[in-house]
Structure formats: C-alpha cells, structure tokens
Symmetry: D2
Subunit: 402 residues, 4 copies
C-alpha cells in the first residue's frame, strides 16, 4: 500500500522557524540527524500511526523574496547553528521547496511587516479580503494537486501582527463571512484570512503565532462546519515554557509569588517586528497571563521583549521571581535561558503536523485541546500548567492506541 | 468533645529547622502569622480532619545545650529573618518547650557532630545501643504522659550523619534487634536508634534528613510489626526541588540534558557539619540521583555544597544545565536560588506532622509513599518528578475525603 | 580650640537616602557602627583634616510630612536593613533633626512628586521662583544661626524631577536671574532653585540626583561669583558603578562590546517616582551614556528601570554584555547586582560632605571635578572610567597633605 | 631594508591556544580577520615599532601526535568557533607549521599529561634533564636556522603540570645547573627545562601557564646572565581577569568582601588535565590569591574548576561575591562569564610575542614586569589590580616612543 502523502503549508515559509523545520525535515528524511527535540518520537507515542518523515512535503506562502537557502545560511553564519554538512546536503531540496512558495497577503499586517515585504507584493495591495482568500485557496489546491497530496495542513509561523488587529469580530460565521467583502475597513487581518482559506477547504490549521488566526469564535464555527480541526495559539518554546513549569511549584508549596519579572532579548527578524510597540504588545500578553491562571491570584508582573541586533536567533531571557514563604520570608529565584528560537520552535511545528494529521485522519474536528502543552494561549484549555497539559497529550495518545 | 492532642518530638530540637518550626507553630497558635509556605492549608486539603495548630505540643531530643531562644535569636540577627515582634511574643513559650528537651544520643554520629555536642553528653558515651533506645523511649513516654498527649510523632531534623554510617544492615528485624547489644562495633547509628525507639512504641517517625533513620528494610519491618507508619528521606526544599520540577520538562520536550552542574553555598550549622567530607557525601547523593530516574539516562552531573560562613541560613544555589535540542543545537538554562533553609524546611515539617497524624489515626502502617513530594529520596516511591509526586498526595487527600 | 561646626542641609531630608545618612551619622557619633562603606575613612585619606562626625549637624527641606523616624522604621521593616538597636538608640536624635526640617518647594517638580507632597505645601503653590529662593535662603540662614554653624553644605537627595525640566537655560547668570521673576512660565525647576539659594549665599552645593540642580552653566557662573564650590551629578552607587568599572576592561583588552543591556528593578519611593515615564527618562540617560565615553564607540544599549513594589529599597540589576573577541568570537558576561540603594548612597553623601567641606575651607570654588568618581555624570570631568576617577581623588588628597 | 624575522616557538604547539594563535596569525597575514582581541593594536601602542604579522613564523614542541589542523577542526566543530572559510584558507599553512613541530619532553609532567602523549614520546623517557635541554636547544637552533629568523621567542602554552612540581629549587643557578644531571630524582620539571633551554640560548621566554617555567629565582638568574628577558606567569583571560577588575572597586568604596566564591566549568583538554587533583591545585592557587593582595585582607574564598565534557572550549564561570556596606548591610554581586578559552588566550599570546620582541630588541633583560596585566601571577609585580597593571604597560609604551 502506498504511503499517504501529507503537505505542510507554512504561512511564513521563508522565515526562521519554517526554514529550520524544512531543513530539519530534510535532515530526518536523509537520516542525517537524530530526533532530539521532537516530542512525537518519544516512547509515550510509540505505536501511534503518525506520519513518516518521508510522507511529508513542504510548500507555503510568504511576503518576502529572500529564499529559504538564504535564511538557512544566515542562521548558520550569524547564529552559529546547523551542521555545515547538513546545510550543503539539503541545499538542492530547499531550492525545490522554495519554488513551491507563493505570495501571501499583507492584509492589515501593519507597517512593520509591510516594510519587510517584497515590492512585488504591492500589486496585491488592493485585493479585497474575499479575493485574497480565493487566491490563497487556489495556491493550497494547486499544491495538493501538483504534489499529489492526500491532505494539506496549514501552519502559521509568520511574524506577529500588531495587537491592534485583535478587534472583536462578530461571534457568528455568517456575519464574518460578509466582512470578507468589506475591503480595507474590514476588521479581519492576514492571519485570519489564511485560517479561513484553509478551514473553508476542510484543511487543518495550526496557529503557532500570537496573531488572531482561527481564534475568533466565528472562525472556529467555520472549522466545525467544514469538519476541519485546528490548534493554537502561540508556540510555547522558551521563557513561557519555563513559567508554566515553575509556577505550579510555587502553587503546590504555598509560596506566594510577589513579583515575576521577565526580560527577553534577541536579534532575529521576529525581534525586529516586535520592536514595533503594537506588534510587541500582542506577544507580551501571551507571555504573562498564564501566571494568574496557575497561581489563582495575580502577582505583579513585568515582561519586556527587546531587539538586540547582534544576538541573532539566540534569545536570552532573565527572569526574577520574588516570593514569600513561611513567616513572610522573602526569597528569590532567578533564571537565565539561552535558547535558539528557531531550533526550539521548528521541531514542535513538525510534532504538531504529525499529531494534527492523525487527528484529522481519525475525524476529530474543531479545537484540538489536547495539544495545549505546545501553546502559550492554548485554545480550548484553561489549564496552563505544563505538567497537566502534557498529561492530556499522553492520555490522548493512550486513547488512540486502543 | 475535647480535641485530641498530638506531640511533635523533634530529634535535633534546638537546631534551625526545629526551632523555626516551633516558633512558627507558636505564631500560628497566637494567630500572629499566616499560613504561607504550609502545604497542608492549601484548598486541595480543605475538609480533611487535619490536626489543629492548638492541638500540637512540641518536645524533643538534642545533643547541644544552646536553647531554642538562642537559635531563634541567632537566625533573627545573622540571617535577618523573623519579625522581631513574633520573637518577643514567643519567647516565653519557646522556653517552656526548651524545658521539655532531653539529651539525645551521639552513637556513631561522627566526630564533626560530637564536637558540637554539649560536654554533659559525654556521660552517655558508653551506653550500649539498647540502653540508648530504652532511654530515648522513656523520654518519649514521659513526654506523652506529662503533656497528656493522645499520640506522639517523632521527626528527625538533626544534622546529617557521615555517609560512612550507610552500611548494610541485615535485612530482617530480628537480626538487627540483636545488633542493639553490640556496643561501639554495631553498624547502627544514632538516627536509626531514634527511629527504632519511636517505631517500637508504635509512634510514627518522619526522617527529614539524609541519615539512615528508618530506611533500612529491617527497621521498616519493625514499623510494620508495631503497626506504625513512617516517611522519609531527606526534605526536598530548594535546589533539588527545582531539579525535580525542571527535569521533567526536558524529558517531555525530548531535550537531551548534557550536563547538570549545581553549586550550593550556605553558612548555617548544617553547613558546618557538611563541610566535613563524610557528612557531605551523604547529602550530595540525594541531590543528584533523581536526574537519572526522571530523564531515563545519566547526564554528567556535578554537585557541590560548601560552607560559606557569612551567608548564615541563606543558601544560594547556582545550577547550570547544558542541553541539546533539534539538530543537535546546544542551549543553556541557569538558575540561581536564594532561599532560607530553615524557613523552607520548617513548614514542610509541620505539614508532614499533620499528614502523618491523620494517616496514623486512620490506621495506615509502613511507608507513607504518598508523601514522596516532600523528600529528596522518597521512601516507597520510584518517581522523582515533583508534579506526579504532588498528584499522588492530592489523590490520597481525595481518598481521605470519601 | 573649639571644633568648627558644619551643617548638612538635605533637600529631601525625609527620603530614604537622607534618613539613612542621618541615622548612620548618629550611629557614628554614638560609636555604634563602624566606617564600612565610607570612602573618606580609607587609608588614602588618612591625615587629611576632614570634619569629625561630632562636628556635623543635620537639617533640611522636604515636601512631605512623614517623619525621618517613619522612613527609618519603614526601611527597617520592609527592607530588613539596620540593626534594631541602632534604630532605638537614634530615635530621639532623629526627632530632633526632624524638627529642623522646613517645607521645600514643588516648583515645576512634576505631577508625580506633587502627589507625594504634603497638603500644607499647597499654600506655597503660588510663590514666584524668587520668593521661593528667598524663603529657602531664610531657612538656611536660620539653620546656620540657630545651630551655631561655621558653614552649611546643601545636598540634594530629593526625588528625580521629570526630564522635561531639562530645558536649556540661558548661558549667563544675569539672564537666569531675571527668570526668577517669571512665575509658572519660568524654565527653572525646584532643584535649581535650591542650588541658587545655596550658592547665592556662598554655601557649597552637592547634587546627588539626576535633576538639573547647579548643572546649567549660568548657575555655575553664580557659584564662581559667590566663591562657592559645588559637585554633581547623580550618585553612582550600583549598576552604573559596575559599568564604569567593567567597561574599561573591554577597552583595555580590545574586546568589542556589541550590546550592553541593563534591567533594574526596585521598590522604593524613588522607584515610584521613576515609574513615571518623564522622571524615568531623566534617570536612564545618566546610566547609559558613559559607555560611549569609555569605549570610544557606541554599542547598542538598553536600560530599563522598573518599580516592583515588594522589593522595597533593594535594587536588583541584571546586565547582559555581549562582546566579540579574537576572530570575531561572540562571548557574554552577565551580572546580577543586589544592593540596597539607600545604604549604598548614604555613606557617599557623608563622604561628599567631608570632602566638599575641606575644599570649601581651603577656598576651592566652582566645580570640584576631583569628586567625579561619586557621580554618574561627573561635572567638569569627561572621563567615566572609575579607576581613573578614583586616581583623581587620590591625587587631590595627596595635594591636600603637602 | 628587509624586515627582521621573528620565530614564535610554542611549547604545546598542537594545543588549543597555540593552534588558535597560529590560525589567527595566518588570518592576520592573509587579512582575513580584523584585530579584535589584540591589545597591541590599540591606539595606546600606535607608533611603536612592533613586529608586523608578516614577520612572524611559528614552530614548536609538543608531546602529542594530533595535528594543528585536527585541533582547529575539533574546536570549529565542537565549540562552534572560527569561520569555516578561514579554516579552509589556512589549512595548507597550518600543515606547514605542523611539519616544524618537534617532540617535547614529558620530564616529570605527571601521569595525566603522560597519558595524553604520543607513544613515540616513550623513547625519550629515559633522557636526563640535561640531555632533554640539549635536544630542545637543537630544535630551537634548527628552527632559527632553517626559517632564517633573526630571533626566536619561546612561549609556554602547554597543559598545567601537577602542583607537586612546585618544589623549592635552590636559589642560585649554579646549584640548579647541577640538578640537570640528576635524572628522575631531579626536582626540575618539563616547563622549567623548556625555559632553561630558551634562556640559556639568550632567547626570550614567556610562561602563559601556571607551571613553574622560569619562575624559580635560579632560572631568573640564568636569564640575567644570558641577557635574556622573560615574562609570566599564567595568562589572565577570564574569571581572574574579572576578579582583578572588580576587586579594586570594593577596596575603593570601602565595601568589605565577606566571601568570593568562583565556580568554573569547561570541557577542553586543559579541563581534562585539571580534572586531576594535583594539576588542578596548581591552577586554583593563581585564581585566588590576588584578592588578598588587592583588598588588604583575606575574605573567605572558594574556587573550583571542573571538567564538564560537552562544554568544549567554552568556559562558564559563576562568581558570587558577598559583601558588606554601610551599617553592616550585606549585599551581593554575581556574575556569569561565558567565554571561549582559546580565543581569549590566543590574541594575548600574540601580543606578548610582539611586546617581548620589542623589549628583547631594545636590550631589556630579566623579568618584564610591565607585562603584569597579562598574568594571574605577574612576575616582578605585587599589584594585581588590572587598572594599575594596564597603566604600567601604557607607561612602558610611552617610554618606548620617546
């Protein structure tokens, strides 16, 4: 029996995360790398009929012209990541993927992202939202057809849209559907157009960014109607991951967190976009709100995220946690996290594709809340404690095996 | 109905942990402090018939002559902990407790602890182990009688014995029983004599230290025979707590820990004792072995624990964790923990007394493995992940409520 | 021969720094504390005829009603500083000092400081700058007369004024003199009015804050005319001190600083004031600009300073320095500074009084540039390297001895 | 006029430091790298007739067989340093240098170093010290002759010998001279034999290691007799550099250092050698003693240095400094240093060669104490403060210019 083929369609396909995920997938297909960093290869998921690496094919949308190879080489050079031999061995295949990348949409992406976009994107500037969705859908269908794919999963790993995009959409799909004809006045933004394009075709959608995507309830309703599944929002890779691991300890030991301060510095393109106040505020919200959920009260918090040019893809986070224990005694934990953002995110994206693909195949629709451990703001899940989120995923896996 | 009265008998009653626990208990009884740092007052345990603060009475053994008040004032002055008003308000009551403290035993405690002991302890130097046990038991019975207690729980918070004490005892109680007559050649040491004294009287025993206590299987057998329950070993308060919280994250995300280095510095009496190599090695074992259990492989580890005079009761731990993620990328987490040892340990000791008291009242015997989250080397439990250990305690609580 | 008596007149006399300096001075007079933290007692200054502790008398201006004793007790309780016995022994004397404190001026201090001020200050709200200066001068003269002082030194340790105050004043004194009659439209602000009041009387003036004070050239001209000396600006106590110590190392080793990020968190009243954006920007300028001076180029820098309520007077700074060495290799130094602001500043204020008093007695006038090591923005000195600034002070001391 | 040619003869020529210095020199000669990290190219030394990069030729001794290219490629791969293009461009030239490397001596180097040595070294095992010196001298003379060099400077960058080598040698050269005939019972060790070989030929000698080298007074006497100059001991590149920069600040501000704890972890070959207790203790001495010199009293100190395999050439040092300021207030500074050892040391080695070469050319003999800023234990200099050491070097440079 021929192996079913699955397409991964990256929104932001030439960015750091998608490029790294694509390089890593090629490395796995060529057996040039091991499975470190991949959750879906852990013993807890052994025996699940997850997609083989060889069955995955990458395409995507982007608004920039720079190639995946350029992104990979810049990461290799500036951030001292990747084995040079892997980069060489993957170059041809990366170029093949690059040829499948189609122009995305800049609809209400904000000035910062527009500035990074390729000039050719301007000819699409006057498209209505509905025209944009149609065009994106043609791209998806052509990818499925030309690459002979059994299914396509759309994964948003594009830069964060400004928080000003987070307007309230009407709660029902038929009302939002009408907004697609509204032009520049429409409250929809690019990330949601990609989500609508995918879900309307019944294709699963994963939102690894803080942008709205499929989060508005009306778009969730569309997913249900088209029997599509989706997951999100905002990949949990570094500082917030640590928060969701450490905060439950303070709760379990009845130690009162007085303040939790987190300062993040990094230098990749995501950083450049976040250097804009509106885009940043979208990001920061997700990094912060989980503490109240886990602790049951709101300590004073502070989160900054700043672009420091020369750090490249390396993010350093310093967190200072001031807490109070027995007899009111104040104590402190500080941690410093030095991680490479794209390398932390990329394997999770591949994991999500594999988990979502199985859910899709098995007919799950709507929000996949068992994937909450992957996200800063897990859709369909109130619990932000990483341990309990992980337990949900393991329970789901156990159910699949029965 | 008159409230049942429970005695807490501290081994090491004049040390930092017991003195802080006693001060805190008085503060709770006088309603001068809140319940921060106490696990047993969390909502998860609401509705359990745990002992009231007013029902608890403190006594204990010690080998030093310095009073509890002196210990409390030294901590207040040198380590800048405790509210001065609480110390003043508790002084009289602390003196009452002090009067209940009886001379302990130095049997095979090692030269470092002997040097700290009061000269008067020397007259007990030639006691046989059996005579020591008898004497300790008389103290316990007299405490129960004179303080009109319904039950007594013995809690070891004395200084760490040298690792050389960790000899293999015979596996059966009747063989160990015979060793009590052997004199200085006996492989038993003080911590186990206290455990034997308590368990043989059917009194629960809690081992908050790395010393052997009731850990040898033969002494566990004695507990079972006398229908006594016990828990241990080695309170998990700071750096090791963080290890047991963080290590599961690396496992859940398939990030390979390459090395985990932990350096601990502090300046309390415990530190002075641990400055002796033999005593220290006993302590370090417990801080380190959990990583292999949680991760499923043994990364390179290094743990030091050093006495830095002027730090007083404040322990600073610096941990450096080097790990490898996707495509072999090396990354780092470092944390710095600044906690006050006695203040972290004391509430857990009070929690253990309340949980053990309920188990005892309800007829549980042998090792109380649901208390594993409190210990570096949890007796009766292989799982070192703090989240899962905590879940066990919550499940026990839920069962008690039914 | 009777000892000459010197008055210290604190602007902000009830704030943390002045209160701590006053408490410390009483401790020194009563021989209840040693001279740790005081620069002027080091061997390098032995033999200089610096003022004795007993010859110093404290008075001051403030805009708040809370007493020095209250400030001292809040620091003692909230920030766990000071020996309780010293506080008790100094209480009476602190009350005597408190009785000498006179209402200051809020002239163009900004809304944040106004909100902290006592209601009674409102009756002074409509004073012209010239009237304010006259009133302040009467206070100074009355202090000198009533306390039988040979001289008075005015030291500004009040909260930071908003950066909006840093308007360009005309360069000559006679032009600024005319502005005193202008009322609310005058570009002068409180800190400069205090400076003018002092210098116009020939009294030395020290500006330990980032506020303008005597920095405008026209006020420096006034000092020269009146043969008064002055020093400033903005005490160098913590993170910036470390910057001025570490940055010369990078220069001397030809290591290129790529970025220097500094995050400061603290919880005292100064922090509350700085939580206001305008006041903060005044502070941050001083913390940052020295790097370019020392390194000879401008690395990317970032400085934040944030108010975290529960930290009290303790400031934690985390600095992350990314630098590049041989063959372009990027490396990192991070430091964490945990210092108590008032306790770091107070001894320097006493040192400055002693050094300035000697300069005044010896007839030095204008800017005392040899005091640059005490300041973030040293008046009259371009060199920000702490080692060379310290050498200047030692050379001055050597000259005094000849 | 033809440029004078200078030979650099590395003892330990295939180790990380020498290999990096050689690679860097080639990069400088080929103008493929800039001068970052090199002290001698700073403006303070402009106009000095220091040797051009093109005039320098490398050779050396080693006891291992692995080639420089292998060392460079291992550093590139394991520690992610060096630009791949530079490595490629330098490969041929590195091979040429490799061909000039001659077998060194293992005389009393200790078991740890012997284990790393090439089997072929065993045929030299029974050489007397005098025979070894003669053989080393032939190598030096042959290098000078065959490479047509005007002078040769010997630089010890070999692994640290065990501290047991630090026996007292007799104080006069003629006594030590006799010891060369003694065989295995001789108290001399390899590092001193290399020094004797060089100095006896009148060649300058630089000791960048903690091993004895030319430090014993008798060998210093030999240098004087042969009119040779020398410098040492133990390159100051990382944690100790920071100590010598920070400690003067505590002194200048009269802040009492209570304790200074430094933990170092790293994974290069030097680390493997230091994992042996005897070799390590030699190293630690140098890292620690400077504090007492700078502060004028001895705070409690602790230094560890541990081999953590996977860190490669990257050394992380965590230092915790506990100090006390005004009114006895305890405060803390911590720093974390993440530097690449070979990349920090290599440029200093090239600087030392250039400075020593000029001194030699100008007829300076004996210890060059103005080079003290480069060393943990500066020969001929009691001052350990980095700023004052740097000033000495600048003054020397100014004198050369006159």
């Amino acid at each position: 029996m021929a192996m079913a083929r699955t397409g991964i369609w990256f929104v932001g396909a030439r960015g750091g995360i998608a490029s790294t995920a694509t390089l890593g997938l090629i490395g796995l297909q060529q057996q040039r790398t091991d499975t470190l960093g991949l959750v879906s290869t852990l013993p807890q998921f052994a025996g699940l009929p997850l997609a083989d690496w060889d069955s995955l094919v990458v395409g995507g949308h982007d608004v920039r012209d720079a190639s995946i190879v350029e992104t990979v080489e810049r990461l290799h050079h500036e951030s001292r990541v990747f084995d040079g031999k892997l980069v060489d061995a993957a170059r041809d295949e990366l170029t093949v993927v690059d040829a499948r990348i189609r122009p995305g949409t800049l609809f209400r992406c904000g000035a910062t992202i527009e500035k990074l976009a390729d000039a050719s994107m301007l000819r699409l500037a006057h498209e209505s939202p509905r025209d944009a969705v149609s065009r994106l859908q043609s791209d998806l269908q052509r990818f499925q057809r030309e690459s002979r794919l059994d299914r396509v999963i759309v994964v948003n790993v594009a830069s964060t849209e400004p928080a000003t995009n987070y307007v309230d959409l009407p709660p029902r799909w038929n009302e939002v559907d009408r907004l697609l004809d509204e032009g520049p006045a429409s409250p929809l933004s690019a990330s949601s157009l990609y989500a609508i394009a995918a879900l309307d075709l019944g294709m699963p959608y994963v939102n690894f960014t803080p942008s709205p995507g499929a989060t508005p309830p009306a778009i969730g309703e569309l997913a249900k109607r088209r029997k599509a599944c989706h997951a999100g929002q905002d990949g949990k890779t570094g500082e917030t991951l640590l928060k969701s691991v450490l905060a439950p300890m303070f709760a379990a030991r009845n130690l009162e967190v007085l303040s939790w301060v987190g300062h993040n510095i990094f230098g990749n393109m995501d950083g450049q976009v976040l250097d804009n106040a509106a885009n940043k505020s979208a990001k920061i919200q997700g990094k912060d709100q989980l503490l109240g959920h886990i602790l049951g009260y709101d300590p004073q918090t502070l989160v900054t995220i700043e672009y420091i040019r020369n750090l490249g893809d390396w993010k350093t986070a310093w967190d200072h946690i001031h807490f109070r224990g027995f007899l009111g005694t104040p104590m402190t934990v500080q941690f410093t996290w030095q991680g490479c953002d794209s390398l932390l995110a990329a394997p999770l994206v591949l994991d999500l594709v594999r988990f979502v693909e199985l859910s899709h195949r098995r007919g799950e629709t709507g929000v996949l809340s068992h994937l909450g451990s992957f996200f800063k703001r897990p859709l369909g899940l109130d619990d932000h404690a990483f341990d309990r989120q992980t337990a949900l995923l393991h329970e789901w896996a156990a159910r699949q095996r029965r």
